[in-house]
Symmetry: T
């Protein structure tokens, strides 16, 4: 089936951007079936008292649209 939808996701992690990407991807996988691709859009961080406290990622997730029941 050839039609897919693109969804924009933001995800955060206290450890790093790689972990934020994995969290976001795992979370998206639980809601969106048939994911076929993803793309990193931006990498940011929140800082407090001179230390990074949260790594933030925005990414696009592509998933095939399932057929609605007839």
């Amino acid at each position: 089936m050839a039609v897919a939808s693109v969804s924009t996701i933001t995800s955060a992690s206290p450890i790093g951007w790689q972990d934020a990407i994995e969290r976001g991807f795992e979370r998206a996988s639980r809601t969106l079936r048939n994911i076929t691709g993803m793309q990193v859009v931006s990498e940011k961080a929140r800082v407090e008292d001179g230390r990074i406290t949260e790594y933030l990622v925005t990414m696009q997730v592509i998933f095939v649209l399932e057929e609605p029941p007839a």
Copy 2:
């Protein structure tokens, strides 16, 4: 919970852009639970007979994804 989704909304008002933003935000709040942020993307207007008849706003709404039932 650290994963959120970004949704693009367009909204219109006969009064002004501020009203269009409020309408769009209120409408989005009824469908999307857990909105955490928004951003204005563009401000346009439709014109008829030399007068603005509709103020149009495109905005992005960010909302936390809820856990699907296990």
Copy 3:
């Protein structure tokens, strides 16, 4: 009702971009009620053995948000 949502769709066809747009639009129509507009974002193709095997289109579909039940 003046509030609409913008959804990004990718679609593919073995015949051409026009066919990919029609497939994507038809498929979106089955899921999204009240579509009011669309826009072509990009036109790509996959190539194998010197021949185009798949025409790929990314497009944005605009649809009016329906009222959730009270």
Copy 4:
């Protein structure tokens, strides 16, 4: 009639951006007949002695092209 032209306008006001938009729109209406839409492109300001003295707006105005005499 389905063909329109897009014109870029800059407008200024000592009061605010909203007033600059209205001045620009009113001025464009006197020259361009059949305006069907507009879009705000940028909002700037000129500052003197720590106070904003001029609000500047750039906007695009869309107007239907009239038939030239045969």
Copy 5:
């Protein structure tokens, strides 16, 4: 003559984008003499009741400026 101007045009057609481009180009030719080039900027569509009712094209038209009478 080496100086030209760039004008942005939007055009619509009930048939397709190719027809919208031709309509816009033909209409521009009646007003602007000495067109030397054009470029497609965007392709959109208006949709009603699940069917595309209007194909919309934005394009830039380049035309040589004629000498004003001395």
Copy 6:
């Protein structure tokens, strides 16, 4: 003196974007002497429990560089 610097500022307000712009401009005026212009770059908002709690503005401030003491 013809040389100026461009500084990017973000500002927040619980009331609205207009207030956020004024706060940011007033705050910038206390640090940067000789401001000559500004430009709004983006307008966002933070949302909690379905209500906007903070209006966020990013803007560029232009100020003339003063001569360093000889």
Copy 7:
């Protein structure tokens, strides 16, 4: 009078980009009264037999709109 229009011009010269800018500006001055500013958008060149034969400039010209007769 605070309302101005922005026009995009392309100009060519066999000598160099500076000359192309001057030609385009001089030509625009003969058609558009009350020019208040300009901006260089792109610098290209046409090449034949390994030599640049034409320097091409695209620029935006800003001019104050004159009042139409009452």
Copy 8:
């Protein structure tokens, strides 16, 4: 083999953009082995005496890099 190169091609046709794309693609296929994809970047046209005389396409062609002899 997982490494590919992206090459930008411009192509022209007296018939239409579709023909220009096919000409450019066929020409690229004769020089670049192992093409795996392409993308349309822009569609322009050259105009003379009120008629389009040349359809111009810019596109990106992706091709797998072959191993150089050891």
Copy 9:
């Protein structure tokens, strides 16, 4: 305190981009008090004799403006 400034930093490391980000962030922390966020803008590398000798990062650092003494 609601007003912050955005500063663009470039940083380099012989080890990797992650190390360059940490060096740039640590260096910025020594000069700019009250950093609240950062964003990666670009990742480049310098290469010599077929090996990466320097990883380069451009990033934006956001820091709250301190009150100047009264």
Copy 10:
């Protein structure tokens, strides 16, 4: 030697983006002598059955042009 060329490369890896960058860089080094720099342009991934199966990187490689034999 002061003249260099910029080439766009895409590379894939089953392990991660870092590995994809290294593969692409190593592969480019075998074809292009005198590489002096590179830049990451985009990071994507292909997904199957809920797992990332291929990490995709697009990057630009800069290499000094060698003198052709006289």
Copy 11:
């Protein structure tokens, strides 16, 4: 020392863009020690009575951050 900051400067000259760049660069050199690079961002001009009265340049200046006293 590997950490640098990027500052945006605007400069003006009655003579030409080249002179505006030199003025801006000279002025920046008096305030910012350890400049390592610059980049031209835009070239504009102010026009009065059909003649260019001021050439305006926006440029980015890169300078190494000095160590603050321990």
Copy 12:
């Protein structure tokens, strides 16, 4: 023959951007036959001890693809 390729070149000169463009163009002409056009993409400079030591230009060169031997 209507198919051309676009190549990105960077060039440097100790004298100025104009000289860097000429060097890059002359160098490209020795490798690429049948150049038909070029475009300036960016103008940068490297600075040492408060003086510009190297003017850097990035430009795109367009050249017609020659027929490979049958």
